[in-house]
């Protein structure tokens, strides 16, 4: 007698995407937990280095710094490698535009196939086409496994929003890190609004994105849900 309720609740069908969504949530948490640890541990050597420069301050060091800066200005190269600052800026712009533009038809078709048939092939093709050329292998794995970069697009797809980046600001920080601010315009049913998303992105010596941290999404995830 008492389990008509159980019977009825058991009628709720379990979608194929369930396990994938659990995994995405867990990997997103993992990515954030690891990012916090790495960011703190990365700072210590630089704090120590700054302390050394402050303590010593010999004329020789400042002359050396001037020499390096002149060299950089001449060639536009960073870290004595083949990547120019303008190439890095282009990579960052491409990444951020992809993250906050759409969802377009290609993305929607890929999502539909994934959700309806449980077939991720079109979705993975989309991610590979958009992100693989500009990120490292490890970051690409996170993009595929934790939905790192297509997260906002997935939410927008589900809730019927369209996004468009209207302004992108990139400021170089220490250790080939870049503070990026993206003004994202989001719209639905004829109504439009904006938020500013702040991300911290690292670039490796080959000019590829080696780490992505979303510092502050301006509440976008809650808006799109």
């Amino acid at each position: 007698m008492n389990n008509k309720i159980k019977e009825e609740i058991n009628k709720i069908q379990i979608p194929k995407a369930l396990h994938r969504r659990s995994k995405i949530g867990i990997l997103k948490a993992k990515s954030e937990l690891q990012g916090n640890k790495k960011r703190i541990s990365k700072m210590f050597p630089y704090v120590a280095m700054i302390a050394i420069f402050v303590i010593l301050i010999p004329l020789g060091f400042s002359q050396l710094n001037n020499h390096l800066q002149k060299d950089q200005t001449k060639s536009g190269r960073v870290n004595n490698n083949k990547v120019s600052q303008s190439e890095i800026n282009k990579t960052l712009q491409t990444y951020l535009k992809t993250e906050f533009t759409g969802p377009d038809d290609e993305f929607k078709n890929a999502m539909e196939k994934f959700n309806k048939d449980g077939d991720p092939s079109l979705y993975n093709e989309y991610l590979e086409k958009k992100y693989k050329p500009i990120v490292t292998g490890n970051v690409f794995k996170e993009i595929v496994n934790a939905n790192l970069s297509a997260y906002y697009l997935s939410l927008a797809y589900t809730s019927g929003y369209q996004m468009k980046p209207t302004n992108i600001l990139i400021k170089k920080s220490e250790n080939n890190g870049y503070n990026c601010e993206v003004e994202v315009e989001y719209s639905k049913n004829g109504k439009t609004n904006k938020v500013t998303v702040k991300e911290y992105i690292n670039i490796n010596d080959e000019g590829k994105i080696s780490r992505i941290l979303v510092d502050d999404d301006g509440g976008l995830v809650n808006i799109l849900r």
Binding site: K4, K6, E8, N10, P15, S22, I26, L27
Partner: protein
């Protein structure tokens, strides 16, 4: 087979694979519970993802691994209600238990559930707190005492909520075809 306590200990050191193994055991329950609140598959999946995210982030704070299941369900209820709040854009959701506390002594109410109750009745006619109590009691087989602890409300209130919920479900049934049970 590794016990759940061992998996939790591993998860607390940051082992996401261990956590996924535990979470997998409960993800269907989390989904179904979320569905009853949010009433559709996409939102329920969002809730599952959010529960997985929040629970792994906070797992190191779980002091009693044996309470993992209740802990997950508690997070599920909060995430589901949070989502509903955001959808409705309402600041205060009614969690006022005073109405239930005025019900009086409900120790002897009959736990008779109408035979023709449907999922729609549960989803549409019950308030969020009523859904919580009904699901925890009849789907997850929690005792009233455990429900009180999970929801952090007095046991008398749990009884009142349950009584009112069953009355509602009975009257939904009676409205439906006007016949006696």
């Amino acid at each position: 087979m590794i016990s759940i306590n061992n998996l939790i200990k591993k998860a607390q050191t940051g082992n996401d694979k261990a956590f996924l193994k535990i979470f997998q055991r409960f993800e269907k329950d989390v989904y179904r519970m979320a569905f009853v609140y949010v009433k559709n598959s996409e939102d329920a999946l969002d809730v599952v993802q959010e529960v997985a995210y929040q629970s792994f982030k906070k797992i190191s704070a779980l002091r009693q691994p044996e309470k993992f299941k209740s802990w997950i369900f508690s997070i599920t209820i909060h995430c589901a209600i949070d989502l509903i709040r955001k959808r409705k854009n309402v600041v205060n959701l009614n969690t006022n238990y005073e109405d239930y506390m005025k019900q009086g002594n409900n120790d002897h109410f009959a736990e008779h559930i109408p035979l023709s109750i449907t999922l729609q009745d549960i989803i549409n006619s019950l308030k969020e707190v009523e859904k919580s109590v009904v699901m925890l009691k009849f789907y997850y087989d929690y005792t009233l005492k455990d429900i009180a602890e999970l929801l952090d409300i007095p046991i008398g209130t749990v009884k009142s909520v349950l009584y009112r919920s069953l009355e509602k479900l009975r009257s939904e049934y009676l409205k439906g075809d006007g016949m006696n049970e």
